[in-house]
Amino acid sequence: MPVTHKSTPIFTPIFQGCDGDVLSVEDLHFHYPDGHIALQGVSLKLCEGDKVALVGPNGAGKSTLMLHLNGILTGEGDMNIAGLRVEPDNLPAIRAMVGLVFQNPDDQLFSPTVFEDVAFGPLHMGLPEDEVRARVDEALEMVSMCDYRDRLSHHLSMGEKKRIAIATVLSMRPQILVLDEPSAGLDPRARRGLINLLRSLPITMLVSSHDLLMVRELFPRMVIMDEGQIVADGLTVDLMDDEALLEAHGLEKP
């Protein structure tokens, strides 16, 4: 049964099965330097193995929330990742646990070759070379792109770039994968491949998307954001049926 909020900033999570052992955000507020209020009291809990979709209209604050999850932005409120408070001292450790993949894979891939890009995280963590190589191979294996190890990222297709972008964070062995609109700009074939990939990854996941068809197919739980607040959090099947709710937040039943 979905819980919907109109404007009460305090949110009662409905998934009480766990107490947010992987991620818990408590009453998070944030405004951008120019004064724009992007988050006003967001609370969210994720449990081990959860696969959660984050949906909402443009400007709802989805990307802003995601940037908080590994401390790139810091608002007011309480955040814990796998028991670690998100605060400056813990950031390097937290960044190893939260794998953040940006919407545009071009932002994620800044090295000339695929190998160098996937190796960036492990290298920066100071791992020894053998370990780095092993991690790169493992990550590329997971996204089925082993053959692309020495290719130039610049020349890959959009779908390939997305996969590599995911590999660049998998190589850090994150606890949680946070993906910002992974299916944007993909053609149906590449999109299908991505869906299969996400299904196969055995990892906690928070994914923002405008692609409600993918959400319905892949994510049992769905969180709706609008105007910097979480307005609904529940089972995807339930929320998708509530056309009035979807309509009210700029969404359309697929």
Partner: protein, 263 residues
């Protein structure tokens, strides 16, 4: 980054906002030129300059201390002028020994230093006011009217437009790098400086290629709309009589300032 962070234009309804951008540009440049022409130690003239600026601030409806509050940008550069205090000319005022250096501040040097700072500070304020009351595209039009080669003004117009697009890209690149800059317990992280600089170089190369390819697409978009090598623009500005009188008044004031400074 949000585009607004770069926009220095401040929306308001005022005489200064409605003035023809040409007048604003020319008067600002003349004001800065006049500052440079004022002799060292012309304190009363500098004071009057500031009063003129306050008047302009008042006309802008942005608050009388608007340009003052934002005028400390060039301050760090003042360090470069500190050494002028120890000019070999003029009467020594003291003598300080600092290691191998013997520093002798002189009265001439102090006057020089003070004048440099004041000139710079006044000029910066004038520029701030210009930018705050003139939208950048209008400023570009002003330069077109003032016969700056069209190639240059168009390049600057493109630069202004894509500034926002590309700085956004850079911000996202930096964020992506930051979010993967992790450590694990017990490991020295981040490798060495050269590696980090090289990663930054890769980012610059990446940005270059993307920009280069974008310019191809933009060129295509221009071709598709009839571009054939000649940029054409409509110049939306017509000088009104109020613009002429403002220009005349300002030039008179600037001449007056020069006279005060010299006699």
């Amino acid at each position: 980054m949000h585009a607004d962070a770069f926009d220095r234009f401040h929306q308001a309804e005022s005489r200064l906002h409605n003035l023809d951008p040409r007048v604003k540009v020319v008067v600002t440049v003349l004001f800065i030129l006049s500052n440079a022409l004022l002799p060292d130690g012309a304190w009363s003239a500098f004071g009057l300059c500031w009063i003129a600026l306050l008047g302009a601030n008042h006309l802008s409806n942005l608050g009388i201390d608007f340009s003052f509050r934002r005028s400390f940008i060039a301050l760090p550069f003042a360090l470069a002028a500190v050494s002028a205090i120890f000019s070999p000319l003029g009467t020594p005022l003291a003598e300080w020994t600092l290691g191998p250096l013997v520093l002798i501040p002189t009265d001439y040097g102090l006057v020089k230093f003070g004048s440099i700072l004041l000139r710079s500070w006044l000029s910066v304020q004038a520029a701030i006011l210009l930018v705050a009351t003139t939208r950048f595209p209008d400023m570009i039009h002003a330069f077109e009217h003032l016969r700056v080669p069209a190639v240059l003004t168009t390049i600057v117009a493109f630069l202004y437009r894509y500034l926002f697009v590309l700085t956004d890209e850079v911000m996202r690149l930096l964020r992506a790098r930051e979010s993967r800059s992790a450590t694990v317990a017990g490991q020295r992280s981040g490798r060495n400086v050269v590696w980090r600089a090289r990663v930054t170089g890769n980012m610059a190369g990446q940005l270059f290629l993307r920009s280069y390819e974008r310019s191809d697409r933009i060129y295509n978009a221009m071709l598709a709309r009839g571009y054939s090598g000649q940029m054409r623009t409509l110049n939306p500005h017509v000088m009104k009589s109020s613009d002429w009188s403002f220009a005349a008044l300002s030039i008179a004031i600037i001449l007056l300032l020069q006279l005060t400074g010299r006699f």
